[in-house]
Each structure stands twice: as structure tokens, then as C-alpha cells.
Symmetry: C2
Subunit: 337 residues, 2 copies
């Protein structure tokens, strides 16, 4: 197919005047190669722009230098940052990252992933939510002894490698911010059950209310599906309540944006009559008007830390927790009287 085809390790070795095994040693940074030889080989490699065949290394060696990233999240923003965070770190460490969207609800999840592993000889796997919660998959990976790391795991938090932020604490901070502004009827639009963070954020919200002696009112919690449309619908429901909330805490920015649109639609001033807060600090948070008060979730850094954990074998601590940050913007303000 190629007109001019790639050089092979043997051609490099011929030109450098050494055995092809020696070239292999240089490429893999093994010791027991004299400085002189190494220099000569490297010079030829650079001149020919030689790159060893990934397929051949995988087949011959015990490592494939490939890691998979599994995701099943409809938010382009989230996916994008998970991808770039993980990819950067993997590239730096000399690994290739295989980006693999997958249906985490499919009954074939486990066999699909095993097929991927067998096909590509993956060295490890990075799981992002909600794939992180597929316990059948985790069991099978454990059984196989295939290393994996989870980003923001909800279940089995104490097992295995993971990189996460503290959703409960973050939700408490956000709730505290609203309470501090004088709000007492604070509603919550909670996200998908399949995402463990939804429950954590709800828990943080409840805990903070209780800490301030505010009774938890189940009528103020409405479920939605992590997207704009369902967030808008949930807000409609909340605003139709006889005793309307003065603030809405949405489980993510997409739902918060939906709630904001509902407020605009109903000519309710934000934050004058209603405060709205989101979670994630996605691009959306700054793009809507007024810009959203939200929690900055370090998605990029979480993914990067996950890659580090699984590749930098030296990992002393199997669990990394990164800092979130409350971003106060114009969508929240003092409670109306």
C-alpha cells in the first residue's frame, strides 16, 4: 500500500554496522551498550526517522505499551478533558492511549472489554464514570490480574488504584455558600443514578443543610438525567411548587444551564429572584448568562493522575485525591426577602 515503505530494525543495524539486537537495546534504553555504539545507532535512527513497529514489539515482548481509556459519558466537555489529561501523561511516559467509548449498561460489557484486551494486548485500563461502577467488570479484571485505575469511583472506594475528588465535601461547600447568602429553601436537581457522584453530591447537600439546622425537604429534590433538557424540565417542576425554592443546586452544569433557561423563560431574574448553581465548571458555566457559580472539578488533572498511577509503577499511594474549587460567579446572590 505504501509506495515508500518503512525501514526496519535490520536496515538500521546494517547501516550502523551492528547486530539488530544491539539496535533493539538502544531503542529500549537497556544498559550494556557502549556510549560509542549507542551514539552511532541513535544517529542512524534519527537520520532514517526510524520508528519501531508497535505490532512487532507487542508480539515479541511482554508489553504492548498500550493503555485503554473506557468512557460512556454524553458530555463532550468531560470526555474531552479526560481524554487530553490521560493522553498527555501517557504520551510523556511512552505509552499509547486507546480511546474506547463503550456502553456501560450493555449486558455484553464484560465480554466486549475482554475482547478489546485480547485483541490489543492492553497493559492496563483507565476507567471513567460510570464505567467505574461496573462491578462485574472489576471482578473480571481482578481475576485476570490486569491493572486498572478508576477515575472518581463510587463503589469499592477503598479497593485498587483511583484518582478522585471529594464530591461530598464539594457539595457541602456549595450548599454552605447558598446558605451563607441567606437561602433556606434550596432545591437540588440530582443527576443520573448510574453516576455515583450524583449520590455523593446529594449527600453533601443534605449534610450541610442538617449542619445548619435546615430540615431536609424531599419535595425539593428532583431527579434529572445530567443534560440540559432534563435540567430545564426539573426546574419547571420546582418553580411550579406552591412554596417555591429561592435557590437551585444542580448536580452538573448542563442541568444548571437548563434550569437557567427555564428561569429566563419564566422571566424570573437570576440571581435577583432565584439563585442557580452548577457543578463541574465546564465551558458552559462561563458561556451562559449570568455565568454559573459552580464547583471546579479537576477533570484534566484527575485523568492525568490516573495515567500516572497506572504507568508510574512507583506509585506509593494507590489513591489520589485532588482539590476542587468553589467558583463563585454571578448566578448566585442574596436570597430575596
Amino acid at each position: 500500500m505504501h509506495v515508500s515503505s518503512r525501514p526496519t530494525i535490520k536496515e538500521v543495524s546494517k547501516i550502523a554496522g551492528v547486530s539488530f539486537k544491539t539496535v533493539s537495546r538502544v531503542l529500549n534504553n537497556e544498559k550494556h551498550v557502549s556510549e560509542e555504539t549507542r551514539r552511532r545507532v541513535e544517529e542512524v535512527v534519527a537520520r532514517l526517522n526510524f520508528r519501531p513497529s508497535h505490532a512487532a514489539r507487542t508480539l515479541a515482548g511482554r508489553k504492548s505499551f498500550q493503555v485503554g481509556l473506557l468512557y460512556d459519558n454524553p458530555s463532550p466537555y468531560y470526555i474531552y478533558h479526560v481524554q487530553t489529561g490521560a493522553q498527555q501523561r501517557c504520551t510523556e511516559l511512552g505509552y499509547r492511549l486507546l480511546l474506547q467509548p463503550i456502553d456501560s449498561q450493555s449486558p455484553d460489557l464484560v465480554s466486549n472489554v475482554l475482547a478489546l484486551i485480547d485483541e490489543t494486548h492492553l497493559d492496563g485500563l483507565i476507567l471513567s464514570p460510570p464505567v467505574t461502577e461496573a462491578t462485574a467488570l472489576l471482578d473480571e479484571l481482578d481475576r485476570r490480574g490486569l491493572p486498572y485505575v478508576r477515575i472518581a469511583p463510587g463503589t469499592r472506594k477503598d479497593a485498587g488504584l483511583s484518582a478522585s475528588m471529594d464530591d461530598v465535601v464539594a457539595a457541602r461547600e456549595l450548599t454552605a455558600h447558598l446558605i451563607g447568602l441567606g437561602h433556606r429553601r434550596i432545591a437540588m436537581i440530582r443527576g443520573l443514578e448510574s453516576h455515583a457522584s450524583s449520590a455523593d453530591r446529594l449527600a453533601g447537600y443534605r449534610a450541610e443543610l442538617e449542619a445548619h439546622g435546615i430540615a431536609f425537604d424531599p419535595a425539593l429534590v428532583v431527579a434529572a438525567e445530567n443534560d440540559f433538557a432534563s435540567g430545564a424540565a426539573a426546574a419547571r417542576e420546582l418553580l411550579a411548587l406552591k412554596d417555591r425554592p429561592t435557590a437551585i443546586f444542580a448536580g452538573n452544569d448542563d442541568m444548571a444551564a437548563g434550569a437557567l433557561a427555564t428561569a429566563h423563560e419564566s422571566d424570573i431574574d437570576v440571581p435577583g429572584q432565584l439563585s442557580i448553581a452548577g457543578f463541574d465548571d465546564s465551558d458552559l458555566a462561563r458561556a451562559v448568562w449570568p455565568p454559573l457559580t459552580t464547583i471546579r472539578q479537576p477533570v484534566h488533572e484527575l485523568a492525568s493522575a490516573a495515567a500516572e498511577l497506572i504507568l508510574g509503577g512507583a506509585a506509593p499511594q494507590p489513591r489520589v485525591t485532588l482539590e476542587h474549587k468553589l467558583m463563585v460567579r454571578a448566578s448566585t446572590g442574596p436570597a430575596p426577602r
Copy 2:
């Protein structure tokens, strides 16, 4: 590394009672295998959940069943849809898609891509804007005879495979929509020079103005960088003009959202005092308030068509053009008098 390691083609053949070459034939859907034998082999393959090693097939055969997707676009929305569109089609056709972010401005672009090709034995490449415009890369790919397809190419539109929409016509339609609402002073926020579509959209805008006998005013064209912040800044500049425009056509939705935020900031009613339109119909278009009038760009379908073109060798027409659609929403309205 694996506790229980993958089965190989030889084990499958032993169980099925045939030579491993016959199993290979079944896996590759070759003819000259009796129905009876095929059935028996397939049954064993399914039972063992056997998947042929990608590395071995690549090494032994002349195809790698891998296609690369190169991108260098900061918009998560665009990337996400390009990825999913291409990936779906590739998966259906039995290919693996390698998602590869890359710096299209780097002086090492060509050698980086060649390294990727050599390492992975890529069968073909899908280029998305602005990588599509890297002529040095195109030349090198041509020289190598490596098949590639471009999504929305700006240069060399008549060469090679490509999938695109008509940016000029779309921009004309959007401009006509604004003119039809009575607008005469219509500003344009143009996007990055490195994206060929920016120039096409500007050209469409100019052409439609001229078709309606409206003089083109260079003062009404401001450059920005395809993102929210630069769009907001550009709008500030436009609204500071003594003879302020009554409508702003932004080269993409991100910049339009920025312009919208600027309007909100300055307490300018949209669309009462100012109409704003975007381009792309990204998630953002529906998430902001008021929702943006924009052009729906079939990103997913373009990527899918590109994958089809490069893999479905049967492609009779090397160039595919897909339909866009004018989405009229609430951000545009009659010109104020």
C-alpha cells in the same frame, strides 16, 4: 501479566479439529471453507470468546485494520462529534480508529505523523480541520501513497477524498435570514485564519450582502479566535462603534455566545435591540439564552461519511457534500427602527 491469558488461534484449531490456517480463513471470511467446517470453527471461537491478536495480524498481513483520526481543534463539542461519527462507522466496518490529537502548527507535524504511521502501520488517515490545510503533510502522504480523506478541506478542494458542507452557501442563507428581518448593518465576527471555513463564511456573508445591494463595510468585520472570550471582546468592539450594527453574525457558536454575554453585560436586549447568530449548532446554541439562531453543521455525519469514503473502497464519488440547515431560534428578530 495476565493470570489467565488469551487463547490463540492454534488452541482454537486444536479444539475444532482443523489446521490453524483454516481458522484463519474463517476469521477473515475467506471463501473455500465448507459450511460444516465454518460452523464448527465459529462455534469454538464463540465458546472461547477468542479474538485474534491485532498485533499479529498487522505484522503478518498487509493490512493493520487501523485508521488514524488527526485533530487539532479546541472545541470539545466538535471533537466529540467528529470522534463518534468516525468511530461508529469504523467499528461497523471492522476497523479500529486511532484518535490522535496533534499540533498542526508544529514544524514537526509531518515527521510526527509519519512516525505515527510507521509505528502503527496505519491503513489510512482521516484529517479534520485545521490539519486538513497542512499541505506539506498532504504532499508527503501522496508521495507515500497512503490513503487519506479530509473533512471540510479548505485548500485543494478538488483533490482527493473529502466530506464537506458548503460553508459559503450556509453563510449566505444565514445572512439572508438577517436581511429578511430588516437588518442592514450586519457585523461579522470572523474566526481563525488557520481554519479555511472562516474565509468561506466571510465570503458567503459578503456575497449575500452584495446580492441585496448592501455595501460591505470593513469596519463591521472583526477577527476573533473561535472561542468565547475573543467573541465577547470582538462584540465589545463592535458595540462601541458610533454607528452600531443591529445584528452580529459570529463565525461559530462559541464566539456568538461570547457576543451574547457582552450584550447581557451591557444590558442590550437580544433580539430586541440586537440580533446575534452563530454557526455550528453546537450544544451551546441551545444552552444559552436566548437560544441561538445558527447553522446546523452535520459534524457527526461528515466524520461518518469520511470513514466510509476511506474504508468502503467502493466509493464512486471521491467528494461528498452534506446538507446544512438554518436553525432559526430566538436570538434573532426584526431589526429595531
